[in-house]
Amino acid sequence: MTSPNAPHSLLVIVPALNEEGAIGGVVRDIHQHVPGVPVVVIDDCSSDSTIARAREAGADVLPVPHHLGVGGCVQAGYKLAWELGYQYVIRVDGDGQHDARDIPRIFETLKSTGCEMVIGSRFAEDNGSRTGTVRSLGIRFFRFVLRPVLGKPVHDPTSGFVGVNRRALEVFRQSFPLEYPEIEALVVLQRRRFRFEEVPCRMHPRTTGRSSITALKSLYYVVHVLLGVFVNVLKFDRRFHRGQRGRGAGG
């Protein structure tokens, strides 16, 4: 196992809720493609045998005492990684949609570019990944909304296949969106003028369990995320203008 305090130490975190059918395979795939890298499954109070399956497959488990949602679980993983001294963290979903073969690519991009976040993107290249019509429309909509906010295009803003370095960890352990965190997390980083990159990744269709975003929740999702983006942009503008005034007064 890699020591947490090694210069390029990596931790893979896997948030999971009732994923007993997929979690064992996810953990084994990660161990196969990034051997020696510790895997922590953050169990969001599953009612099935997710914890047992994860431990059998060789993962450590961070069991949260009650349901926190994906954002709360991911933040718990970031806090743990920060405390243990890891330099990089890659999040992989517990439902088997992310391909562990892409983890080394995300890790290499994190190390070589020095940017704070690397997103595994379905659409950075045409790699045959397909998504549902509603989700596809949502992704297009958020691409359009985020383009001026982030100052550069993002192809797959809803991807949960994300790697971060220790600078981003320091931010996210203190402030991380708790519901539907992927898009808001990008804006949180942008507020601090951090950089992100996208690398093309394969995504598999979900084989077991259910998505947390159902058709009925889609509208709530859009409103919630838009509000989160708007609030974060306001916070950024206030800080930015305060900084400008400070520089103006000083100069």
Binding site: V40, I42, D60, V61, L62, P63, V64, P65, H66, L68, G72, Q75, A76, K79, L80, E83, L178
Partner: protein, 120 residues
């Protein structure tokens, strides 16, 4: 109108007594009782002091006195709901942070146990 004012006076007194008893028995914290007390006191005063109620009605340009009477009560309810939303948000944040801390401590504890078992 008089009957309505008497009912409001009675309800205000009951509300005041209930709040004070709840505070005394620590069922409600003092800081959360203030808005309730102010709303109940305002309704009590307005229902007892007719000239004051009329003065308010004229000041606000309202068509009738009952509306003037329930306006402070409605405003107080809105303020309280907002306060509750703020409090719930804080409590939820604290709760999530605590749950994360418990999970991390449990993780460390499990590792210590595993380490001890390996040594034994």
């Amino acid at each position: 109108m008089d009957r309505l004012l008497n009912v409001v006076t009675g309800v205000s007194v009951i509300l005041l007594v209930m709040i004070l008893i709840s505070v005394r028995r620590a069922h409600i914290r003092v800081e959360y009782s203030v808005t309730w007390l102010l709303a109940a006191a305002a309704m009590l005063i307005l229902s007892l002091a007719h000239p004051l109620l009329e003065g308010f009605r004229n000041l606000l340009g309202l068509p009738d006195s009952p509306l003037t009477l329930f306006l402070p009560a409605g405003g107080a309810v809105l303020i309280m709901l907002f306060r509750f939303s703020v409090i719930i948000s804080h409590l939820r944040d604290d709760n999530i942070a605590l749950a994360q801390r418990v999970a991390i401590l449990e993780y460390h504890l499990q590792h210590l146990r595993d380490h001890e078992n390996q040594e034994a």
